[in-house]
């Protein structure tokens, strides 16, 4: 192999947030251009809040430490400071790591889809800057393919793994489309706000905010494009609300089951979904026993998330085996790249011999019309190609075997003397000498 693939990086597992912040790449294009100037053949850098990864294809002349030094200098840091927080994968291990990143197996939340989009953006930028060529192109396309395969063949991303997403998923299971539903936020905790934002993103028609301090409700309503309502008239609005997220600091239940019976009758038994994020709880647990009323508190949602997390871990095992097999298949392609020049040389050699022999034959034949000349040329070249077909297929198969590529490519070059080595006449004398 006359090229090395390096993947050097740091992520949430290898480095703390201060290091990740310090060594994040602010200008990726400039960083990539600098590495190309340094002599690497191809480069692609990815910089997100949780990881910085530098994928490099270079000759043997460039080492991992040179890349690290360049990176540290670019971020005005020191190599000794950066190095302990990074990892470096070489060749197929680098390929494997990239595939794992693309499939979100290396993410903080396994299965989250965000990283694939970020990887695609980085790749697009590298292509536009001319920094990604044959190997990185193929590697990234393969990474996107593997990510798609993992998503299709496993259910790694099918379940919600955050409280707010779990709440939205449950709401969808009850109401189907959230478009046209009305939501209410009681109190204004951070997690409740997040859940409300997700609901709005999913098409909830209207959001009402009830808070003991009306001005706070009004401020929040302004941010969310919603409506602030007085806390005292909460029940008046409930009959026209489908999803309620509650997170007040009240010591007792804010919504009682007895009152809810009237509300549910008033809204003609249309379903209601309560999400109680407050501790102590805001909503009387008996509310869940009413028909068409569904109540989830913070512990219930945590349980849903934890169960989904463990399901994801099981799916991650399946995903890893897909990544392993795709890495091997990519390795075969890399090996076949090493074979490519040898195949070209073989065909050139065969064509050269065919042309030389054709010239001699034509000379012997004398006057030959163009049609016959063309037919003879076609035949000579075809014989050369067909003779090489089996050896080339043999070589291709051998390069798919681990560690066999170099040996067989070298053997083929020597057998056909593709490097035009001059062999001394007495090179094998000793071997030929019969034993006494």
């Amino acid at each position: 192999m006359d090229h090395n693939i390096y993947l050097i990086g740091l992520n949430h597992k290898s480095a703390g947030v201060d290091i990740r912040e310090r060594y994040a790449l602010t200008n990726v294009e400039e960083f990539e251009a600098g590495l190309l100037d340094l002599g690497v053949r191809e480069v692609m850098a990815l910089s997100t809040c949780n990881r910085v990864e530098i994928l490099v294809v270079c000759s043997e002349a460039i080492t991992e430490s040179e890349i690290l030094t360049y990176w540290a200098n670019k971020c005005s840091g020191s190599r000794s400071d950066l190095e302990p927080n990074t990892y470096c994968h070489k060749d197929l291990k680098a390929v494997n790591h990239l595939f794992r990143v693309a499939c979100s197996l290396d993410s903080m939340i396994v299965g989250e889809p965000q990283i694939l989009g970020q990887l695609k953006d980085s790749y697009r930028n590298a292509v536009e800057a001319g920094a990604a060529r044959v190997i990185i192109n193929r590697m990234l396309h393969k990474a996107f393919f593997v990510a798609k395969r993992v998503r299709t063949e496993t259910s790694i991303a099918s379940s919600a793994v955050s409280i707010s997403y779990a709440a939205v998923e449950l709401a969808k299971k009850i109401f189907g489309e959230l478009k046209g539903q009305k939501a209410m936020l009681i109190g204004a905790g951070e997690m409740a706000e997040l859940a409300a934002t997700h609901l709005l993103n999913c098409g909830v028609e209207k959001i009402r905010i009830a808070n003991r301090t009306l001005s706070n409700a009004q401020d929040l309503a302004k941010c969310m494009n919603g409506e602030a309502i007085p806390f005292e008239s909460l029940y008046d609005y409930l009959s026209d609300t489908d999803i309620i997220i509650s997170s007040t600091g009240a010591p007792h239940a804010v919504i009682k089951a007895k009152e809810m019976k009237k509300v549910i009758k008033k809204r003609k038994f249309r379903p209601m979904f309560f999400i109680d994020i407050a501790v102590p709880r805001d909503i009387d647990p008996d509310v869940n026993s009413l028909d068409n009323v569904y109540l989830y508190d913070i512990d219930d949602l945590k349980d849903v998330v934890e169960e989904n997390m463990s399901q994801r871990e099981d799916e991650a095992v399946k995903a890893s085996s897909i990544v392993e097999s795709e890495t091997l298949s990519f390795g075969n392609w890399i090996n076949s790249l090493d074979l490519q020049p040898t195949i070209v040389d073989l065909f050139n050699r065969s064509e050269g011999i065919a042309q030389a022999e054709l010239a001699k034959t034509l000379k012997r034949l004398g006057d030959v019309d163009d049609k016959t000349k063309e037919a003879l040329e076609f035949m000579a070249l075809s014989i050369g190609k067909k003779i090489l077909h089996e050896p080339v297929t043999f070589l291709k198969r051998r390069t798919e075997e681990e560690g066999a590529a170099d040996r067989f490519v070298d053997l083929a070059r020597r057998m056909f003397n593709l490097d035009n080595d001059t062999i001394p006449p007495d090179a094998h004398c000793k071997r030929k000498k019969p034993k006494d």
Partner: protein, 275 residues
């Protein structure tokens, strides 16, 4: 084997394949399986329609006295109602109710080739047009509502008890969708059932000179009508939704099935199927 018989085996094969695809699609959460199921159901339904048309054309005079025709027609109505639902909500979930029942009814229709139904010829046109047609479509709607009801109770129970959903549960339509299907089926099914019943009583008046003759079938049908009417009233006036109408429609459907398979075969009645 005659061409006619071969034709019927193809229909069975298509319905069976459709059912397998629908069930596998729901369990494996695979939309492609659902699509394949739909293709099989469309093929089976097209041939089934042709089969019914041929039966009517070839046995013009006797088709209405053949028990097989009624089972076949009921199975056909089920698939028709399923297609209506699929067109409305673009979900193959309701095929889980329609396809096994349609297959069962079609196979039963073949087994019931020798069964005869007593039918006064002079009223046959009216009888088939109103009584059978409306009753069968309303039974098909009832089946869909019952299927939606079972699914509603299952999903409702899972959500209420905070149990994690399996792959099957994750791909199920929402509770609202099941309730909507239940609503549509009752809103369309009850008036049709009423019309079918009225036509039946009018036919009875012409044939037996009295509308009601305490026939077991008539008693059970009236019981079903009262329950159906109660359900219709509670949904439209009181605003029942969710679990209660789901349970009631399942009860109504079970009684109807007992009436169809039990009374028609084993109890002496005007609607008896005689071998």
């Amino acid at each position: 084997m005659t061409l006619f018989e071969f034709f019927q085996y193809v229909i069975i094969a298509l319905y069976l394949m459709g059912m397998i695809f629908f069930i596998a699609g729901a369990l494996k959460n695979s939309p492609i399986m659902g699509k394949l199921g739909n293709l099989c159901a469309i093929g089976g339904f097209a041939l089934h329609s042709l089969d019914l048309l041929l039966a009517v054309t070839l046995y013009k005079g006797t088709v209405l006295t053949g028990g097989f025709f009624y089972f076949s027609l009921l199975g056909w109505s089920l698939i028709l109602v399923y297609f209506g639902l699929w067109w409305k909500i673009r979900n193959t979930f309701f095929a889980l109710t329609a396809s096994p029942l349609a297959l069962l009814l079609f196979v039963a229709s073949l087994a019931a080739q020798s069964l005869k139904v007593t039918l006064p010829a002079h009223l046959a046109g009216l009888f088939i047009g109103l009584h059978i047609g409306t009753i069968f479509v309303s039974i098909a709607l009832m089946a869909m509502a019952a299927g939606a009801g079972v699914a509603f109770i299952y999903l409702n129970n899972k959500i209420k008890t905070k149990a994690n959903l399996t792959a099957f549960g994750k791909e199920m339509p929402s509770l609202n969708t099941f309730d909507r299907v239940n609503h549509w089926a009752i809103m369309i099914g009850f008036p049709l059932y009423t019309l079918g019943l009225a036509a039946g009583f009018l036919w009875a008046r012409g044939t037996f000179t009295k509308m009601f003759s305490w026939d077991p079938k008539e008693i059970v049908t009236l019981l079903v009508w009262f329950l159906f009417a109660f359900l219709f009233h509670q949904r439209t006036i009181v605003g029942w939704r969710g679990k209660k109408p789901a349970i009631l429609v399942i009860i109504v459907f079970v009684i109807t099935m007992i009436s169809l398979w039990g009374i028609n075969f084993f109890i002496p009645t005007h609607h008896s199927f005689k071998a």
